[in-house]
């Protein structure tokens, strides 16, 4: 139960980090990664916040 970021698609804008209610997303090296242990797929938010705000479709996807 976690999302992941497809690195080759990511534009590194950081919107997902800004929105993540679980603090599961952080910068590592040149890109953002999702900490699977903290990701809840936003069960209580209605929709995964990272995927909803991401400007590049198909970048924040279920792992």
């Amino acid at each position: 139960m976690a999302y992941q970021i497809i690195q080759s698609q990511c534009s590194v804008c950081g919107a997902c980090e800004f929105e993540c209610p679980n603090g599961a997303i952080k910068m590592k090296g040149d890109t953002y990664i999702i900490d699977a242990a903290k990701c809840t797929e936003c069960e209580d938010q209605g929709s995964p916040q990272c995927a909803s705000v991401c400007p590049v479709d198909g970048t924040c996807v279920p792992a």
């Binding site: 804008c13 950081g14 929105e19 916040q49 909803s52 590049v56």
Partner: protein
């Protein structure tokens, strides 16, 4: 690289006010082609005070002062059909495109490095990629770091408006005098064709509902800002067939809510930009379509015609971009700020401005006189090549853009600039480039330049465009006025003898 106000000469360590003065005479910018064309006589003193040194708000200031943008807030809360966030091309120059993203600390260091090298610097803007107020923590952190070192610099932000109502108090607290809101519609049905979705209230919203929320937030934010006396410029992207006619309604609505300036920008659209509009073949407006709309709106909110649609990390005078000189790897770790050069520059500009205003007044006077002598009053478009300082000081072959003025017996008015470098299409031979230039000069009667070779002169004349270097290094307005008076006179003489 530098087209408008080349400060090459000025920016390179001028030792004294005298050197700066001489440099300005060679290539500063004292002409009339930026932002609001109104001068100090046309507006309340407190507004003039706020815009007189802001190149993006004052047509007059853009000849003297420089802005820089720092890209600290790359995240965005809406998707626009003319934007593709993955795309970045260093050869390009358009909004939302940037090469280097900065943390607020890095941005503050860059601002100081630029202030030391570019004494014309008067404005720091945060304009994307992304939305400055969606990613607001980074925006305000950057302002806080900079204001401790450069208390006299003006801050400026651009936003799509969706998050604006939440941050108006903070904007007022930071003494931000200038906010630009991009407003492309006031009708959500039209908005749905421009914005596929927004992210608001923790969810992605599509279609007309998304556009309606965006519209309401934009109008609310605009009203909140103008109530507090903050100057608001509205940018609109003109998209033929979608919002071109509708922008007249937008103009009336934003004017009603107190917008200070309305800047209509042409859609930039090409398949290689990877945007929705680029990929679906949506074209941008022609220069003539843009001017026709701007002319229609001339009685609405003040129109801005000198916008260069600069890159999100642009540095320098409008029309030039020295951003590549100030990338992070080129500025040191710790930079100390030296205020002396900027102070000196401001002194010089005060004097030069007065001089140029005198020259403009004299040109108007001469044109009014031409009416007395019975000259034909048909307006004419004249293009000039300039490196700034309001003078005809650029060689034709070095020009990547032309400033276009309309002249008749009522005076000389800046109407816009025409680019002749066509972004990163690249690979043009000289002949192809000349074709591009002739295309860009559509509707223009004459080109006044500092110098031009025989070959391009002949090609232009074959295309029906007169070229003259008779006014090399003179002030723009007085040269155009003199050219107009002479050529109208000769037309009349021609008619008389025919």
């Amino acid at each position: 690289m530098s087209q408008v106000i080349s400060l090459d000469s000025i920016a390179k360590a001028p030792e004294s006010a005298e050197t700066m003065r001489q440099d300005l005479a060679k290539g500063g910018c004292t002409s009339s082609s930026c932002g609001s064309s109104d001068g100090p006589a046309d507006m309340p003193a407190e507004i003039w005070e706020k815009i007189k040194d802001h190149p993006c708000y004052s047509e007059e200031a853009h000849h003297y002062f420089a802005r820089m943008h720092v890209a600290v807030a790359p995240a965005c809360n809406i998707q626009c059909n003319y934007c593709n966030r993955k795309y970045d091309c260093a050869n390009e120059s358009r909004p939302g495109v940037v090469s280097e993203r900065l943390t607020p600390e890095q941005a503050a260091r860059k601002v100081i490095a630029v202030a030391n090298e570019v004494p014309q610097l008067s404005v720091l803007g945060i304009a994307g990629p992304g939305d400055s107020l969606y990613d607001w923590k980074k925006t305000f952190e950057t302002f806080e770091l900079v204001e401790t070192q450069l208390p006299d610099i003006k801050f400026c932000i651009s936003t799509n408006g969706l998050a604006l109502p939440d941050h108006v108090e903070e904007i007022a607290r930071h003494n931000i005098d200038h906010v630009t809101i991009t407003i492309n519609m006031v009708d959500p049905e039209i908005g749905a064709k421009i914005y596929p979705w927004i992210f608001f209230d923790k969810r992605r919203i599509h279609g007309v509902e998304a556009a309606r929320i965006l519209h309401e937030r934009q109008m609310q934010g605009l009203e909140m800002l103008t109530e507090r006396g903050i100057l608001v410029k509205v940018n609109s992207v003109m998209i033929p067939g979608i919002n071109d006619e509708h922008l007249k309604v937008v103009n009336a609505e934003v004017k009603k809510r107190g917008a200070f300036l309305h800047n209509i920008m042409p859609l930039i659209s090409a398949p290689e930009h990877g945007t929705h509009f680029g990929l679906t073949g949506q074209r941008g407006p022609t220069a003539a379509e843009l001017k026709a709309l701007q002319d229609d709106l001339a009685d609405g909110a003040n129109l801005m015609r000198h916008c260069r649609q600069c890159r999100a990390d642009a540095v320098g005078l409008l029309g030039e971009d020295r951003g590549q000189e100030f990338t992070l790897d080129k500025i040191g770790e710790a930079v100390a700020y030296d205020p002396e050069k900027r102070r000196l520059y401001r002194e010089v500009v005060e004097a030069e401005r007065a001089d140029h205003q005198k020259a403009r007044a004299a040109a108007e006077d001469a044109l009014a006189h031409a009416v007395d002598t019975g000259a034909d009053a048909a307006p004419m478009l004249v293009a000039v090549t300039t490196k700034g300082g309001g003078r005809l000081n650029q060689h034709f072959g070095h020009a990547t853009e032309f400033q276009v003025y309309e002249v008749d017996c009522d005076g000389v008015r800046f109407v816009g600039h025409r680019r002749a470098d066509n972004y990163c299409l690249g690979g043009f031979g000289e002949d192809d480039r000349l074709e591009t230039i002739i295309g860009a000069l559509d509707g223009v009667t004459a080109v006044l330049t500092a110098k031009i070779g025989d070959c391009p002169r002949e090609r232009l004349e074959e295309a029906g465009i007169v070229v003259s270097d008779a006014y090399a290094y003179e002030y723009i307005e007085s040269s155009i006025g003199a050219y107009y008076t002479a050529s109208v006179g000769s037309v009349d003489a021609g008619r008389a003898s025919a």
